[in-house]
Symmetry: C2
Subunit: 204 residues, 2 copies
């Protein structure tokens, strides 16, 4: 009957709480995590090796909802398109954790398997090995920046004055614009990137 | 002689401190800001109208180092390229503030003038008004995601195992890769986006 809260501790609860803290504050420490879980920090070390492993588990958790299954079944650019949409949605649910995960080493085996599949898909499509890593990084950066935009509610954030900023006003006020431009912007950027990459392959 | 610290308060100091707090914690409150500046919150209101104006001033401050002067002097895609590099560098110095600024309204007159110049440059290049806003948002998202990557030190973050992740290992281990892939990745993504946008214009 002793220490029931410790007895209930498991990896899932630790990851839940680490994501909650990071979403709220942008980061977490083992001390904060233990405190929020109502346990002594040493109890955490029965379940995880330390902060780095918790970060790995956070990435793996978010990655669970990312669909990367299309590589090898549809053309590479269609596979990247499907990956991009589910990747953005997954991270848009954790905007406070984006900076932490975007700047930490990728070490968890689930994410590494997915990146391996992505790298293989790009190489199979015709990109040379030295071209693959920059494409993956650029794609990650576009998707994570877009996830921040999506998490902001995706509303237009520009507030031009028609007299002083006529061009921006015309752009923001175009009657064809959707109320929430985040998806159209994502589609526009994604299509541009994929078209540019295809052009690179086609012009060898 | 009374309250010397209040007497020394000015807008520049307020913005410096707001950036410092946001870079460290991802956000700031007027209470925190006043506390760090050693003044009562009411003193801040002699200089700024409130938190929103401080956010505007933070954006304007970062924007001071962004070079957007090329629109109208060189082809639109070359102007976007120059804008992108200086925009990424400016925000990479403030990674903790990226989320805050990426999700807040753009209201400061300096930034609005620059976005107006950007919008005008795109429309002059041939993009329709409804196309301009999504291009600007997608470009912002790519640049801000890339600024996070640059701020992480720009080192390769993927740690594949050659046996388990052969494709990712080949990509990461390509002898041609630079030690710091962030700039090559940025150039790759930027070129793809600009090529894709040019393709859109050329195929009308």
């Amino acid at each position: 009957m002793a220490r029931p809260r410790t007895a209930l501790l498991d990896v899932e609860r630790i990851v839940d709480e680490a994501l909650r803290i990071s979403d709220a504050t942008g980061d977490f420490t083992v001390t904060e995590l233990a405190s929020k879980l109502g346990v002594h920090p040493s109890s955490l070390y029965h379940h995880v090796s330390g902060r780095d492993q918790v970060v790995d588990l956070m990435r793996a958790r978010i990655g669970r909802t990312i669909d990367n299954s299309a590589f090898g079944t549809v053309p590479w650019d269609e596979a990247m398109r499907r990956l991009a949409w589910s990747y953005r949605s997954a991270f848009a649910r954790h905007p406070g954790s984006i900076r932490l995960l975007a700047t930490a080493l990728v070490r968890d085996k689930e994410s590494l398997m997915e990146y391996d599949r992505f790298a293989n898909g790009l190489h199979t499509a015709g990109f040379s090995w030295p071209e693959v890593l920059p494409i993956i990084i650029a794609f990650d950066n576009f998707v994570l920046g877009s996830a921040l935009d999506m998490a902001s509610g995706g509303n237009n954030l520009y507030t031009p004055d028609p007299q002083t900023h006529p061009a921006l006003s015309a752009a923001v006020g175009a009657p064809e614009n959707p109320a929430n431009p985040t998806d159209v912007a994502f589609e526009t950027g994604l299509t541009a990137i994929l078209t540019g990459l295809r052009h690179k392959l086609d012009n060898r």
